[in-house]
Protein backbone atom coordinates (compact mmCIF):
# COMPACT_ATOMS: atom_id res chain seq x y z
CA UNK A 1 0.00 0.00 0.00
CA UNK A 2 2.80 2.42 0.88
CA UNK A 3 4.49 1.59 -2.41
CA UNK A 4 1.32 2.49 -4.24
CA UNK A 5 1.17 5.73 -2.26
CA UNK A 6 4.75 6.62 -3.13
CA UNK A 7 4.10 5.79 -6.75
CA UNK A 8 1.06 8.08 -6.82
CA UNK A 9 3.01 10.85 -5.09
CA UNK A 10 5.79 10.54 -7.66
CA UNK A 11 3.25 10.74 -10.46
CA UNK A 12 1.71 13.88 -8.95
CA UNK A 13 5.17 15.49 -8.69
CA UNK A 14 6.13 14.43 -12.18
CA UNK A 15 2.97 15.56 -13.93
CA UNK A 16 3.85 19.29 -14.02
CA UNK A 17 7.32 18.37 -15.23
CA UNK A 18 5.93 16.35 -18.10
CA UNK A 19 3.65 19.23 -19.05
CA UNK A 20 6.35 21.89 -18.75
CA UNK A 21 8.81 20.00 -20.92
CA UNK A 22 6.15 19.07 -23.48
CA UNK A 23 7.13 15.47 -22.90
CA UNK A 24 5.37 13.58 -25.69
CA UNK A 25 7.41 10.53 -26.58
CA UNK A 26 4.80 9.37 -29.05
CA UNK A 27 5.62 12.31 -31.33
CA UNK A 28 8.94 10.53 -31.93
CA UNK A 29 7.04 7.70 -33.54
CA UNK A 30 4.40 9.46 -35.62
CA UNK A 31 4.71 8.96 -39.35
CA UNK A 32 6.32 12.28 -40.36
CA UNK A 33 8.91 12.30 -37.60
CA UNK A 34 9.69 8.65 -38.12
CA UNK A 35 10.29 9.20 -41.80
CA UNK A 36 12.60 12.19 -41.38
CA UNK A 37 14.52 10.62 -38.49
CA UNK A 38 14.97 7.42 -40.42
CA UNK A 39 16.19 9.30 -43.48
CA UNK A 40 18.67 11.25 -41.34
CA UNK A 41 19.96 8.16 -39.56
CA UNK A 42 20.21 6.28 -42.83
CA UNK A 43 22.28 9.08 -44.32
CA UNK A 44 24.87 8.49 -41.56
CA UNK A 45 26.02 5.43 -43.46
CA UNK A 46 28.50 5.38 -45.01
CA UNK A 47 30.42 8.18 -43.26
CA UNK A 48 32.11 10.52 -45.72
CA UNK A 49 35.81 9.68 -45.84
CA UNK A 50 37.08 11.17 -49.12
CA UNK A 51 40.49 12.78 -48.76
CA UNK A 52 39.31 16.35 -49.36
CA UNK A 53 36.73 16.19 -46.57
CA UNK A 54 39.10 14.38 -44.21
CA UNK A 55 41.64 17.17 -44.71
CA UNK A 56 38.97 19.72 -43.82
CA UNK A 57 37.98 17.75 -40.72
CA UNK A 58 41.61 17.44 -39.67
CA UNK A 59 42.13 21.18 -40.03
CA UNK A 60 38.98 21.97 -38.04
CA UNK A 61 40.01 19.46 -35.36
CA UNK A 62 43.34 21.21 -34.97
CA UNK A 63 41.52 24.54 -34.77
CA UNK A 64 39.32 23.14 -32.00
CA UNK A 65 42.40 22.11 -30.01
CA UNK A 66 44.07 25.44 -30.79
CA UNK A 67 41.04 27.43 -29.59
CA UNK A 68 41.01 25.48 -26.34
CA UNK A 69 44.76 25.88 -25.81
CA UNK A 70 44.84 29.58 -26.66
CA UNK A 71 41.76 30.15 -24.49
CA UNK A 72 43.30 28.40 -21.49
CA UNK A 73 46.56 30.34 -21.97
CA UNK A 74 44.74 33.66 -21.93
CA UNK A 75 42.63 32.37 -19.05
CA UNK A 76 45.83 31.81 -17.08
CA UNK A 77 46.79 35.44 -17.73
CA UNK A 78 43.52 36.40 -16.01
CA UNK A 79 43.63 33.73 -13.33
CA UNK A 80 47.19 34.00 -12.02
CA UNK A 81 47.21 37.71 -11.11
CA UNK A 82 43.73 37.46 -9.61
CA UNK A 83 44.78 34.42 -7.59
CA UNK A 84 47.86 36.18 -6.24
CA UNK A 85 45.81 39.22 -5.33
CA UNK A 86 42.89 37.37 -3.80
CA UNK A 87 44.45 34.48 -1.88
CA UNK A 88 44.35 34.78 1.89
CA UNK A 89 47.69 33.03 2.48
CA UNK A 90 49.66 35.94 1.05
CA UNK A 91 48.05 38.49 3.35
CA UNK A 92 50.53 40.17 5.70
CA UNK A 93 47.91 41.58 8.02
CA UNK A 94 46.30 38.15 8.45
CA UNK A 95 49.51 36.92 10.11
CA UNK A 96 48.48 38.69 13.30
CA UNK A 97 45.14 36.88 13.47
CA UNK A 98 42.56 38.90 11.58
CA UNK A 99 42.96 40.46 8.18
CA UNK A 100 42.62 44.24 8.17
CA UNK A 101 39.36 45.60 6.77
CA UNK A 102 40.63 47.15 3.55
CA UNK A 103 42.57 44.10 2.30
CA UNK A 104 39.64 41.91 3.28
CA UNK A 105 37.18 43.98 1.26
CA UNK A 106 39.60 44.11 -1.68
CA UNK A 107 40.04 40.33 -1.70
CA UNK A 108 36.30 39.79 -1.40
CA UNK A 109 35.68 42.05 -4.40
CA UNK A 110 38.21 40.15 -6.51
CA UNK A 111 36.60 36.92 -5.44
CA UNK A 112 33.19 38.19 -6.58
CA UNK A 113 34.74 39.15 -9.93
CA UNK A 114 36.04 35.60 -10.33
CA UNK A 115 32.65 34.13 -9.46
CA UNK A 116 30.92 36.47 -11.92
CA UNK A 117 33.29 35.45 -14.73
CA UNK A 118 32.69 31.82 -13.93
CA UNK A 119 28.94 31.85 -13.52
CA UNK A 120 28.20 33.13 -17.04
CA UNK A 121 28.31 29.95 -19.14
CA UNK A 122 31.00 30.03 -21.84
CA UNK A 123 28.35 29.59 -24.49
CA UNK A 124 26.76 32.88 -23.48
CA UNK A 125 30.12 34.67 -23.55
CA UNK A 126 30.62 33.22 -27.03
CA UNK A 127 27.17 34.41 -28.18
CA UNK A 128 27.98 37.92 -26.97
CA UNK A 129 31.45 38.06 -28.51
CA UNK A 130 30.29 36.63 -31.81
CA UNK A 131 28.14 39.77 -31.98
CA UNK A 132 31.10 42.01 -31.11
CA UNK A 133 34.03 40.55 -33.08
CA UNK A 134 32.15 38.56 -35.69
CA UNK A 135 32.11 34.86 -36.52
CA UNK A 136 35.33 32.94 -36.11
CA UNK A 137 37.74 31.63 -33.51
CA UNK A 138 38.36 34.96 -31.75
CA UNK A 139 34.99 34.81 -30.02
CA UNK A 140 35.63 31.23 -28.92
CA UNK A 141 39.06 32.04 -27.52
CA UNK A 142 37.74 35.01 -25.55
CA UNK A 143 34.77 33.02 -24.22
CA UNK A 144 37.01 30.21 -22.98
CA UNK A 145 39.53 32.67 -21.57
CA UNK A 146 36.92 34.51 -19.49
CA UNK A 147 35.07 31.47 -18.13
CA UNK A 148 38.15 29.38 -17.48
CA UNK A 149 40.03 32.38 -16.10
CA UNK A 150 37.35 32.73 -13.44
CA UNK A 151 37.23 28.99 -12.79
CA UNK A 152 40.99 28.53 -12.55
CA UNK A 153 41.45 31.65 -10.42
CA UNK A 154 38.90 30.54 -7.87
CA UNK A 155 40.20 26.98 -7.64
CA UNK A 156 43.87 28.08 -7.55
CA UNK A 157 43.11 30.33 -4.59
CA UNK A 158 41.34 27.43 -2.86
CA UNK A 159 44.27 25.06 -3.52
CA UNK A 160 46.77 27.57 -2.14
CA UNK A 161 44.64 28.12 0.95
CA UNK A 162 43.93 24.44 1.63
CA UNK A 163 47.60 23.44 1.98
CA UNK A 164 49.82 23.61 5.04
CA UNK A 165 50.58 27.32 5.54
CA UNK A 166 53.50 27.10 8.01
CA UNK A 167 56.24 27.56 5.43
CA UNK A 168 54.66 30.56 3.75
CA UNK A 169 53.68 32.13 7.08
CA UNK A 170 57.20 31.90 8.45
CA UNK A 171 58.65 33.30 5.24
CA UNK A 172 56.29 36.26 5.48
CA UNK A 173 57.03 36.73 9.18
CA UNK A 174 60.75 36.86 8.49
CA UNK A 175 60.41 39.62 5.99
CA UNK A 176 60.11 37.86 2.65
CA UNK A 177 58.09 39.77 0.10
CA UNK A 178 54.82 38.29 -1.08
CA UNK A 179 56.28 37.27 -4.43
CA UNK A 180 59.22 35.56 -2.72
CA UNK A 181 56.80 33.78 -0.41
CA UNK A 182 54.80 32.63 -3.40
CA UNK A 183 57.78 31.36 -5.41
CA UNK A 184 59.70 29.74 -2.55
CA UNK A 185 56.89 28.70 -0.21
CA UNK A 186 53.54 28.22 -1.92
CA UNK A 187 54.49 27.25 -5.47
CA UNK A 188 56.83 24.32 -4.67
CA UNK A 189 54.27 23.01 -2.20
CA UNK A 190 51.28 23.12 -4.55
CA UNK A 191 52.81 22.90 -8.03
CA UNK A 192 51.68 19.34 -8.75
CA UNK A 193 48.10 19.97 -7.74
CA UNK A 194 47.89 23.27 -9.63
CA UNK A 195 49.30 21.71 -12.79
CA UNK A 196 47.07 18.68 -12.68
CA UNK A 197 43.99 20.87 -12.25
CA UNK A 198 45.08 23.01 -15.19
CA UNK A 199 45.56 19.94 -17.39
CA UNK A 200 42.12 18.67 -16.39
CA UNK A 201 40.60 22.02 -17.33
CA UNK A 202 42.39 21.96 -20.68
CA UNK A 203 40.63 18.68 -21.39
CA UNK A 204 37.29 20.27 -20.47
CA UNK A 205 38.10 23.26 -22.69
CA UNK A 206 38.53 20.99 -25.72
CA UNK A 207 35.07 19.59 -25.10
CA UNK A 208 33.53 23.02 -24.72
CA UNK A 209 35.33 24.47 -27.72
CA UNK A 210 33.43 21.98 -29.90
CA UNK A 211 30.19 23.16 -28.38
CA UNK A 212 31.14 26.81 -28.90
CA UNK A 213 31.42 26.12 -32.61
CA UNK A 214 27.64 25.71 -32.68
CA UNK A 215 27.15 29.43 -32.07
CA UNK A 216 29.72 30.29 -34.73
CA UNK A 217 32.99 30.36 -32.83
CA UNK A 218 34.91 28.22 -35.29
CA UNK A 219 36.34 24.72 -35.17
CA UNK A 220 34.76 21.29 -35.44
CA UNK A 221 31.47 22.43 -33.90
CA UNK A 222 30.80 25.04 -36.55
CA UNK A 223 31.47 22.52 -39.31
CA UNK A 224 29.20 20.00 -37.60
CA UNK A 225 26.45 22.58 -37.31
CA UNK A 226 26.73 23.39 -41.02
CA UNK A 227 26.52 19.73 -42.04
CA UNK A 228 23.60 19.16 -39.70
CA UNK A 229 21.67 22.06 -41.18
CA UNK A 230 22.19 20.57 -44.63
CA UNK A 231 21.08 17.14 -43.33
CA UNK A 232 24.36 15.70 -44.54
CA UNK A 233 24.41 12.67 -42.26
CA UNK A 234 27.58 11.15 -43.69
CA UNK A 235 29.64 14.21 -42.81
CA UNK A 236 28.02 14.45 -39.37
CA UNK A 237 28.87 10.80 -38.70
CA UNK A 238 32.54 11.29 -39.65
CA UNK A 239 32.84 14.38 -37.49
CA UNK A 240 31.14 12.72 -34.52
CA UNK A 241 33.59 9.81 -34.75
CA UNK A 242 36.55 12.21 -35.02
CA UNK A 243 35.22 14.16 -32.07
CA UNK A 244 34.83 11.05 -29.91
CA UNK A 245 38.40 10.04 -30.82
CA UNK A 246 39.65 13.55 -30.00
CA UNK A 247 37.97 13.54 -26.59
CA UNK A 248 39.34 10.07 -25.85
CA UNK A 249 42.83 11.20 -26.86
CA UNK A 250 42.70 14.35 -24.72
CA UNK A 251 41.36 12.23 -21.87
CA UNK A 252 44.26 9.77 -22.20
CA UNK A 253 46.91 12.52 -22.42
CA UNK A 254 45.52 14.35 -19.43
CA UNK A 255 45.22 11.15 -17.38
CA UNK A 256 48.82 10.24 -18.23
CA UNK A 257 50.14 13.71 -17.36
CA UNK A 258 48.26 13.76 -14.08
CA UNK A 259 49.53 10.31 -13.15
CA UNK A 260 53.10 11.42 -13.90
CA UNK A 261 52.60 14.44 -11.65
CA UNK A 262 51.35 12.15 -8.93
Amino acid sequence: MSRLGWGLALLVICWPLLVATEFKPWTLFDAASRKSSWAFIKSFFPPVVNSEFMLLVLRETWRTVAIATAGITLGLLIAIPLTLLSTRVLSVSALSGRMATLPFVFRQILRIVLIMLRSVPELVWALIFVRVVGLGPTAGVIAIALTYGGMLGKVYAEILESGESHASASLLRNGATRMQTFFYGLLPQNAAELTSYTVYRWECAIRSSVVLGFVGAGGLGQQMDNSMKMFNGGEVATMLLVFIALVALADAISAWLRRELG
Binding site: C14, P16, L17, L18, A20, T21, E22, F23, K24, T27, L28, S33, S36, S37, F40, W62, R63, V65, A66, I67, T69, A70, T73, I115, M116, S119, V120, P121, L123, V124, L127, R131, V132, V133, G134, G136, P137, T138, V141, I142, R207, S208, V210, V211, F214, V215, G218, G221, M224, D225, M228, F231, V236, L240, F243, I244, V247, A248, L257, E260
Partner: protein, 275 residues
Protein backbone atom coordinates in the same frame (compact mmCIF):
# COMPACT_ATOMS: atom_id res chain seq x y z
CA UNK B 1 89.75 5.84 6.52
CA UNK B 2 86.89 7.90 5.19
CA UNK B 3 87.41 11.49 4.24
CA UNK B 4 85.41 13.81 6.45
CA UNK B 5 82.70 15.62 4.52
CA UNK B 6 83.12 19.34 4.08
CA UNK B 7 81.10 21.57 6.35
CA UNK B 8 79.87 23.47 3.35
CA UNK B 9 78.32 21.80 0.33
CA UNK B 10 80.80 21.71 -2.56
CA UNK B 11 80.05 24.20 -5.30
CA UNK B 12 77.64 22.87 -7.86
CA UNK B 13 76.44 24.32 -11.09
CA UNK B 14 72.68 24.75 -11.24
CA UNK B 15 71.04 22.08 -13.40
CA UNK B 16 70.96 23.01 -17.08
CA UNK B 17 67.77 24.62 -18.33
CA UNK B 18 67.17 21.86 -20.86
CA UNK B 19 68.53 18.38 -20.79
CA UNK B 20 67.59 15.60 -23.17
CA UNK B 21 67.25 13.17 -20.27
CA UNK B 22 64.80 15.27 -18.32
CA UNK B 23 61.23 14.24 -19.08
CA UNK B 24 59.76 17.34 -17.48
CA UNK B 25 61.80 19.49 -19.87
CA UNK B 26 60.34 17.65 -22.85
CA UNK B 27 56.81 18.09 -21.47
CA UNK B 28 57.32 21.81 -20.94
CA UNK B 29 58.83 22.15 -24.41
CA UNK B 30 55.85 20.31 -25.92
CA UNK B 31 53.40 22.58 -24.09
CA UNK B 32 55.25 25.70 -25.25
CA UNK B 33 55.18 24.42 -28.84
CA UNK B 34 51.46 23.64 -28.56
CA UNK B 35 50.64 27.10 -27.22
CA UNK B 36 52.74 28.92 -29.81
CA UNK B 37 51.33 26.80 -32.63
CA UNK B 38 47.79 27.48 -31.41
CA UNK B 39 48.19 31.23 -31.41
CA UNK B 40 50.07 31.18 -34.71
CA UNK B 41 47.56 29.03 -36.59
CA UNK B 42 44.37 30.77 -35.49
CA UNK B 43 43.44 33.87 -37.41
CA UNK B 44 42.72 35.85 -34.27
CA UNK B 45 41.56 39.39 -34.82
CA UNK B 46 43.38 41.15 -32.01
CA UNK B 47 43.83 44.35 -33.98
CA UNK B 48 40.12 44.57 -34.55
CA UNK B 49 39.45 43.80 -30.95
CA UNK B 50 41.86 46.18 -29.28
CA UNK B 51 41.56 49.15 -31.64
CA UNK B 52 39.85 52.29 -30.36
CA UNK B 53 37.03 51.96 -32.86
CA UNK B 54 36.09 48.45 -31.79
CA UNK B 55 36.49 49.49 -28.17
CA UNK B 56 33.84 52.11 -28.80
CA UNK B 57 31.58 49.59 -30.54
CA UNK B 58 31.98 47.17 -27.62
CA UNK B 59 31.05 49.93 -25.23
CA UNK B 60 28.04 50.84 -27.34
CA UNK B 61 27.06 47.18 -27.41
CA UNK B 62 27.37 46.95 -23.62
CA UNK B 63 25.29 50.12 -23.22
CA UNK B 64 22.44 48.63 -25.24
CA UNK B 65 21.92 46.13 -22.42
CA UNK B 66 20.59 48.98 -20.30
CA UNK B 67 17.92 49.38 -19.25
CA UNK B 68 16.88 45.72 -18.96
CA UNK B 69 13.29 45.04 -19.99
CA UNK B 70 11.40 44.62 -16.72
CA UNK B 71 7.83 44.89 -17.97
CA UNK B 72 5.58 42.41 -16.11
CA UNK B 73 4.61 40.58 -19.28
CA UNK B 74 8.22 39.89 -20.22
CA UNK B 75 9.32 39.04 -16.70
CA UNK B 76 6.59 36.44 -16.46
CA UNK B 77 7.76 35.01 -19.79
CA UNK B 78 11.31 34.74 -18.42
CA UNK B 79 9.91 33.17 -15.25
CA UNK B 80 8.19 30.50 -17.34
CA UNK B 81 11.45 29.96 -19.22
CA UNK B 82 13.27 29.50 -15.93
CA UNK B 83 10.71 26.96 -14.73
CA UNK B 84 10.98 25.17 -18.06
CA UNK B 85 14.78 25.01 -17.65
CA UNK B 86 14.38 23.56 -14.16
CA UNK B 87 11.79 21.04 -15.34
CA UNK B 88 14.03 19.97 -18.25
CA UNK B 89 16.99 19.38 -15.96
CA UNK B 90 14.93 17.52 -13.38
CA UNK B 91 13.14 15.24 -15.83
CA UNK B 92 16.32 14.68 -17.87
CA UNK B 93 18.22 13.64 -14.76
CA UNK B 94 15.42 11.35 -13.58
CA UNK B 95 15.22 9.58 -16.94
CA UNK B 96 19.00 9.31 -16.99
CA UNK B 97 19.07 7.77 -13.51
CA UNK B 98 16.53 5.11 -14.55
CA UNK B 99 18.26 4.24 -17.82
CA UNK B 100 21.64 4.54 -16.14
CA UNK B 101 20.70 1.77 -13.71
CA UNK B 102 19.27 -0.34 -16.54
CA UNK B 103 22.52 -0.04 -18.52
CA UNK B 104 24.81 -0.29 -15.50
CA UNK B 105 23.54 -3.78 -14.70
CA UNK B 106 24.77 -5.42 -17.91
CA UNK B 107 27.88 -3.22 -17.82
CA UNK B 108 29.19 -4.56 -14.54
CA UNK B 109 30.75 -7.78 -13.35
CA UNK B 110 28.87 -8.88 -10.24
CA UNK B 111 31.31 -11.43 -8.86
CA UNK B 112 34.74 -12.72 -9.79
CA UNK B 113 34.23 -15.11 -12.69
CA UNK B 114 30.93 -13.57 -13.80
CA UNK B 115 31.08 -13.96 -17.59
CA UNK B 116 29.22 -10.63 -18.08
CA UNK B 117 29.04 -11.16 -21.83
CA UNK B 118 27.46 -7.80 -22.58
CA UNK B 119 29.96 -5.82 -20.47
CA UNK B 120 32.19 -4.67 -23.33
CA UNK B 121 29.30 -3.74 -25.61
CA UNK B 122 27.34 -1.84 -22.95
CA UNK B 123 30.44 0.05 -21.83
CA UNK B 124 31.03 1.06 -25.44
CA UNK B 125 27.46 2.37 -25.68
CA UNK B 126 27.82 4.25 -22.38
CA UNK B 127 31.10 5.81 -23.51
CA UNK B 128 29.58 6.93 -26.80
CA UNK B 129 26.58 8.47 -25.00
CA UNK B 130 28.95 10.24 -22.61
CA UNK B 131 31.43 11.47 -25.20
CA UNK B 132 28.88 13.54 -27.14
CA UNK B 133 28.04 16.76 -25.28
CA UNK B 134 24.45 17.68 -24.40
CA UNK B 135 24.35 20.47 -26.93
CA UNK B 136 25.39 18.19 -29.81
CA UNK B 137 22.77 15.65 -28.72
CA UNK B 138 20.20 18.42 -28.72
CA UNK B 139 21.16 19.51 -32.23
CA UNK B 140 20.94 15.88 -33.42
CA UNK B 141 17.63 15.21 -31.67
CA UNK B 142 15.94 18.32 -33.02
CA UNK B 143 15.30 16.39 -36.24
CA UNK B 144 13.28 13.67 -34.49
CA UNK B 145 11.81 15.55 -31.55
CA UNK B 146 11.28 18.96 -33.10
CA UNK B 147 12.02 22.37 -31.62
CA UNK B 148 11.22 22.82 -27.95
CA UNK B 149 12.00 21.57 -24.48
CA UNK B 150 11.29 17.93 -25.32
CA UNK B 151 14.45 17.72 -27.45
CA UNK B 152 16.44 19.37 -24.69
CA UNK B 153 15.13 16.96 -22.08
CA UNK B 154 16.04 14.00 -24.25
CA UNK B 155 19.49 15.44 -24.96
CA UNK B 156 20.19 15.85 -21.24
CA UNK B 157 18.88 12.33 -20.62
CA UNK B 158 21.14 10.80 -23.32
CA UNK B 159 24.36 12.43 -22.16
CA UNK B 160 23.63 11.95 -18.46
CA UNK B 161 22.70 8.30 -19.01
CA UNK B 162 26.23 7.76 -20.30
CA UNK B 163 27.80 9.53 -17.35
CA UNK B 164 25.62 7.99 -14.66
CA UNK B 165 25.62 4.50 -16.19
CA UNK B 166 29.38 4.39 -16.04
CA UNK B 167 29.53 5.76 -12.49
CA UNK B 168 26.82 3.30 -11.37
CA UNK B 169 28.66 0.39 -12.98
CA UNK B 170 31.86 1.37 -11.16
CA UNK B 171 29.92 1.63 -7.90
CA UNK B 172 28.37 -1.83 -8.39
CA UNK B 173 31.73 -3.42 -9.20
CA UNK B 174 33.41 -1.79 -6.21
CA UNK B 175 30.69 -2.80 -3.73
CA UNK B 176 31.84 -5.29 -1.07
CA UNK B 177 31.12 -8.75 -2.55
CA UNK B 178 30.53 -10.68 0.69
CA UNK B 179 26.77 -10.17 1.15
CA UNK B 180 26.13 -11.17 -2.45
CA UNK B 181 28.38 -14.18 -2.06
CA UNK B 182 26.54 -15.29 1.08
CA UNK B 183 23.19 -15.14 -0.70
CA UNK B 184 24.52 -16.85 -3.79
CA UNK B 185 25.93 -19.67 -1.66
CA UNK B 186 22.39 -20.23 -0.36
CA UNK B 187 21.16 -20.65 -3.90
CA UNK B 188 19.46 -17.28 -4.31
CA UNK B 189 18.99 -16.22 -7.94
CA UNK B 190 20.94 -13.43 -9.65
CA UNK B 191 18.07 -10.94 -9.72
CA UNK B 192 17.34 -11.26 -6.03
CA UNK B 193 21.03 -11.11 -5.14
CA UNK B 194 21.19 -7.79 -6.98
CA UNK B 195 18.02 -6.45 -5.35
CA UNK B 196 18.77 -7.52 -1.78
CA UNK B 197 22.58 -7.50 -1.53
CA UNK B 198 24.18 -5.20 -4.12
CA UNK B 199 21.58 -2.49 -4.59
CA UNK B 200 21.14 -1.54 -0.90
CA UNK B 201 24.90 -1.09 -0.60
CA UNK B 202 25.33 1.19 -3.59
CA UNK B 203 22.06 3.13 -3.38
CA UNK B 204 23.42 6.06 -1.28
CA UNK B 205 26.32 6.48 -3.69
CA UNK B 206 23.95 6.40 -6.67
CA UNK B 207 21.76 9.05 -5.07
CA UNK B 208 24.69 11.37 -4.49
CA UNK B 209 25.97 10.92 -8.07
CA UNK B 210 22.49 11.68 -9.39
CA UNK B 211 22.15 14.84 -7.31
CA UNK B 212 25.57 16.00 -8.46
CA UNK B 213 24.62 15.48 -12.09
CA UNK B 214 21.34 17.32 -11.56
CA UNK B 215 23.34 20.33 -10.44
CA UNK B 216 25.41 20.12 -13.63
CA UNK B 217 22.33 19.63 -15.76
CA UNK B 218 20.61 22.80 -14.54
CA UNK B 219 23.60 24.71 -15.82
CA UNK B 220 23.55 22.80 -19.10
CA UNK B 221 19.78 23.17 -19.54
CA UNK B 222 20.07 26.95 -19.26
CA UNK B 223 22.14 27.12 -22.45
CA UNK B 224 20.78 24.12 -24.40
CA UNK B 225 18.08 26.27 -25.93
CA UNK B 226 20.65 28.12 -28.02
CA UNK B 227 20.22 25.43 -30.67
CA UNK B 228 16.44 25.57 -30.23
CA UNK B 229 15.87 23.05 -27.45
CA UNK B 230 13.73 25.09 -25.07
CA UNK B 231 14.27 26.84 -21.76
CA UNK B 232 16.04 30.10 -21.08
CA UNK B 233 18.60 29.51 -23.82
CA UNK B 234 15.94 29.52 -26.52
CA UNK B 235 14.55 32.85 -25.28
CA UNK B 236 18.12 34.17 -25.20
CA UNK B 237 19.04 33.23 -28.74
CA UNK B 238 15.64 34.41 -30.02
CA UNK B 239 15.85 37.90 -28.52
CA UNK B 240 19.56 38.26 -29.21
CA UNK B 241 18.90 37.33 -32.81
CA UNK B 242 16.41 40.21 -32.98
CA UNK B 243 18.95 42.53 -31.28
CA UNK B 244 16.52 43.25 -28.43
CA UNK B 245 19.30 43.87 -25.98
CA UNK B 246 17.12 45.02 -23.08
CA UNK B 247 15.28 41.71 -23.12
CA UNK B 248 18.55 39.83 -23.55
CA UNK B 249 19.88 41.52 -20.42
CA UNK B 250 16.87 40.35 -18.40
CA UNK B 251 17.33 36.77 -19.61
CA UNK B 252 21.06 36.84 -18.89
CA UNK B 253 20.32 38.11 -15.41
CA UNK B 254 17.82 35.29 -14.82
CA UNK B 255 20.35 32.76 -16.09
CA UNK B 256 23.13 34.01 -13.81
CA UNK B 257 20.73 34.05 -10.85
CA UNK B 258 19.68 30.46 -11.56
CA UNK B 259 23.28 29.25 -11.77
CA UNK B 260 24.29 31.20 -8.66
CA UNK B 261 21.28 29.85 -6.75
CA UNK B 262 22.19 26.28 -7.65
CA UNK B 263 25.82 26.89 -6.62
CA UNK B 264 24.83 28.35 -3.26
CA UNK B 265 22.26 25.63 -2.54
CA UNK B 266 24.66 22.82 -3.30
CA UNK B 267 27.40 24.51 -1.25
CA UNK B 268 25.09 24.90 1.75
CA UNK B 269 23.74 21.35 1.39
CA UNK B 270 27.24 19.92 1.23
CA UNK B 271 28.27 21.96 4.28
CA UNK B 272 25.25 20.68 6.23
CA UNK B 273 25.69 17.07 5.12
CA UNK B 274 29.43 16.84 5.82
CA UNK B 275 29.22 18.50 9.21
Amino acid sequence: MTTPSAANQPFRLPPPLFSARCRGCWCVAAIVVLVVASFASLDLKWSAFFSAESGASTLRFAKEFFPPDLSPAFVSKVWIGTLETLAMSLLGTMLAAVFGVLLAVPASRFYAGDPARLRGLTRLILNALRAIPELVWAALLLISAGLGPFAGTLALAFHTTGVLGRLFAEAIENAPPEPGFALRAQGVGTVRVFLYATLPQVLPQMMSYTLYRWENNIRAAAVLGVVGAGGLGQLLSFHMGLFQMGKTATILFAMICLVALVDVTSYVLRRVMTR
